[in-house]
């Protein structure tokens, strides 16, 4: 059986931007053809039936792009299945238009050994929705003391390492981790935070933390570690990827380092280019994440960093928490918000507002993540059919009760947005279709 995605604008920077039909066969992109193309085998057949055994997906007005990849996601399994499971997390990913996600190692037990890695990969395969690429821990138990068995985890399938949620505080250990990973050719994702400067704070340090009486986290808590790890990247020659960049100082440091040719990349999350600390509603813990929502100037710097290319990619930092962690005093609440099902819509706002071109957006949500992980998601004949069909004009109101994620901790409830995923395909199989009721029920 063939699938023909018909009438879409196919956008795969820098190879392609054209109206094409994509024909999918046996999990692969079988052919990329002009919309008028008729398979010679069926040319004499009745127009209505001449392509038997082909499921047509009407994609008029939609944009077909390489499968989006979210490289920063917390799936919580094993250990915290009450917040999210690999299954609900991957369903959320599919609904958000992501054909693949990278899951962070701060599970329980920590993904600091090949057994946990294998478990995650095995569960991902059984579930058969979006692909899951585990990220292993840099240090055993995320304790920042001794290196984890990174090679062993790499054999089992990790694509990168990080101690996300925590920094590697010891600079010498970080240096050795970078050297070690360089030798293994595995990317290192950095959670940049000086915890002594953050000093137990819960929101951005500034007039609003003073107003609410909430202990603040200064910008420097992030940028000081960004600057340190730029120095360590220069020292070791190892590439470094910075997670969830939120401050103007970090953007500037990365900009300058890139000019010098330091091998660094970075991501930001939709909340950092959408919200600011002023938006934090009265002690609403759905606005609490780490790093915190920053000032207006920081948001502007993040948007500029995205549009000029200093910020390479967008990742959601999807961090599901239950009401047990969130329906409590602000300073006691867990950090983090869910993001898989709002990321694309919020990112599309950058396009609608003229801050990014659609091509740049696809670069940041599909191509750059793939480059970083060494995945080929080009829309080319013979490649596996991991595709996202975007409806750029669909207006809707974000409704957490419709989330596939097990958790609802989002500050975006009730926000009016424009554009989202219409269809998500992995390995030639439709894993999500927005208006496909039957299909949704099976997910």
């Amino acid at each position: 059986m063939l699938i023909r995605i018909k009438g879409a604008r196919v956008l795969d920077p820098p190879h392609m931007d054209a109206k094409k039909d994509i024909i999918i066969k046996d999990h692969l992109i079988h052919a990329i053809v002009d919309p008028e193309y008729v398979d010679p085998e069926y040319k004499d057949a009745d127009p209505d039936t001449r392509i038997p055994d082909t499921h047509i997906i009407d994609a008029a007005g939609k944009i077909l792009v390489p499968g989006l990849i979210d490289i920063h996601v917390h799936l919580r399994e094993p250990g915290q299945e009450y917040k999210e499971t690999i299954e609900t997390g991957l369903a959320a990913a599919a609904r958000g238009g992501f054909t693949a996600v990278c899951c962070m190692p701060n599970t329980n037990p920590v993904n600091d050994n090949s057994q946990v890695t294998r478990f995650i990969i095995q569960r991902g395969r059984e579930i058969g929705l979006s692909r899951v690429y585990p990220v292993g821990a840099i240090t055993q138990g995320l304790k920042g003391e001794t290196l984890a068995e990174i090679h062993d985890m790499k054999q089992a399938g990790i694509v990168a390492v990080t101690d996300d949620g925590k920094p590697v505080e010891n600079s010498n250990l970080m240096r050795r981790a970078l050297e070690y990973c360089r030798g293994l050719n595995i990317p290192v994702f950095v959670h940049a935070e000086d915890t002594s400067l953050a000093d137990g704070g819960s929101m951005n340090e500034g007039p609003f933390s003073t107003f609410w009486g909430i202990k603040g986290i200064p910008n420097a808590a992030e940028s000081i570690m960004v600057v340190r790890d730029i120095a360590l990247s220069e020292l070791t020659g190892a590439p470094v990827h910075f997670c969830h960049i939120s401050t103007k100082e970090s953007v500037e440091a990365i900009r300058q380092a890139k000019k010098r040719g330091v091998k660094i990349t970075c991501e930001t999350a939709p909340h950092y280019f959408t919200l600011i600390d002023e938006d934090v509603k009265e002690y609403d813990t759905h606005f609490k994440m780490n790093p915190p929502l920053r000032s207006k100037e920081d948001r502007q710097a993040v948007i500029e960093g995205l549009s000029e290319g200093t910020i390479d990619l967008i990742a959601s930092d999807h961090a599901p928490h239950s009401v047990v962690e969130k329906d409590v005093e602000f300073d006691r609440a867990a950090f983090g918000i869910v993001g898989l099902e709002t990321s694309l819509s919020l990112a599309l706002k950058l396009v609608h507002d003229g801050n990014l071109t659609l091509t740049e957006l696809i670069h940041k949500m599909a191509k750059q993540p793939a480059n970083l992980l060494g995945i080929n998601n080009d829309i080319k004949e013979g490649n596996r059919a991991d595709l996202t069909l975007i409806d750029p004009d669909h207006e809707y109101v974000i409704d957490p009760s419709a989330f596939k994620s097990k958790s609802r901790n989002t500050p975006f409830a009730g926000m009016k947005v424009k554009g989202n995923a219409f269809l998500t395909m992995v390995n030639g199989k439709v894993i999500y279709q927005r208006d496909g009721k039957d299909l949704q029920d099976t997910i």
Partner: protein, 312 residues
Amino acid sequence: MRFEKKDILDIESLEPWEISMILDTAQGMKEISERPVKKVPTLRGKTIVLFFQEPSTRTKLSFDTAAKRLSADTHSISAGTSSIVKGETLIDTAKNLEAMKPDVIVLRHPSSGAPHLIAKRVKASVINAGDGIHAHPSQALLDMMSVREKKGRIAGLKISIIGDISHSRVARSDITGFSKMGAMVSICAPRTMIPKGIEKLGCTVSPNMEACIEGSDVVMMLRIQKERQGSILFPTEREYSTLFGLNRDRLKLAQKDVLVMHPGPMNRGVEISSDVADSDCSIILEQVTNGVALRMALFYLVAGGSRHADSH
């Protein structure tokens, strides 16, 4: 105008006319405490829960006394005795309290915003008796009452607040309240104890203590917490006292009829010298007396006054 507020959570959420109404009501309540029989039946049959998740002597006693003088029944729960130590969440504890039908819950809590969190979940009125480093509205209101009583007004006065502003909910509420009522507030502290953007609450930051006190009508000293000595905020009490302690000489820079205030408990010889604390310009003990009247007014306004007039 009628007082319609269900809760007293912070000064920010009170309009100037509401603050005036509270102060007027408190002034009227004050006389009750001077009577031989210090009790009126105003809140008979009302239940007030004092839910203190942080140590407190004077504030708790002040609320308790205020409630009893209005004939309300009071119940006390403190950190050690509440189910919070058994792992119950604040919201669950509050809902359980609610199930016993109290009329007012007075909450003190180490987390900023805790009273706001429970106020949304319970029908009872919630009075914030101090939340984290955020607000202490009853203290600021009694401070305003004390100043107004002595000076006849608040508008146009120069108020100086000196001490650990960063960690002080009293400072935040006083700055907000006095500036809302038209006073000029100036603050002073080691730079380590002045939080970012404090000016936006309605004050100016003075470069040193002398500049801060000069021409002041009111000098309010904040307690410097002994446990912060030797931390990274200031080196020693001795050095702190040299730079930011209130003594006779410094007080001469203020207006002749200056009022000296302190929310207590004082560290004599650290932020305030004994002779100043005991001098004629000190109204520190009158603040305590007014505290009872002010809290009686709050109870009356949220639980017994006009807010409930139509529902009976």
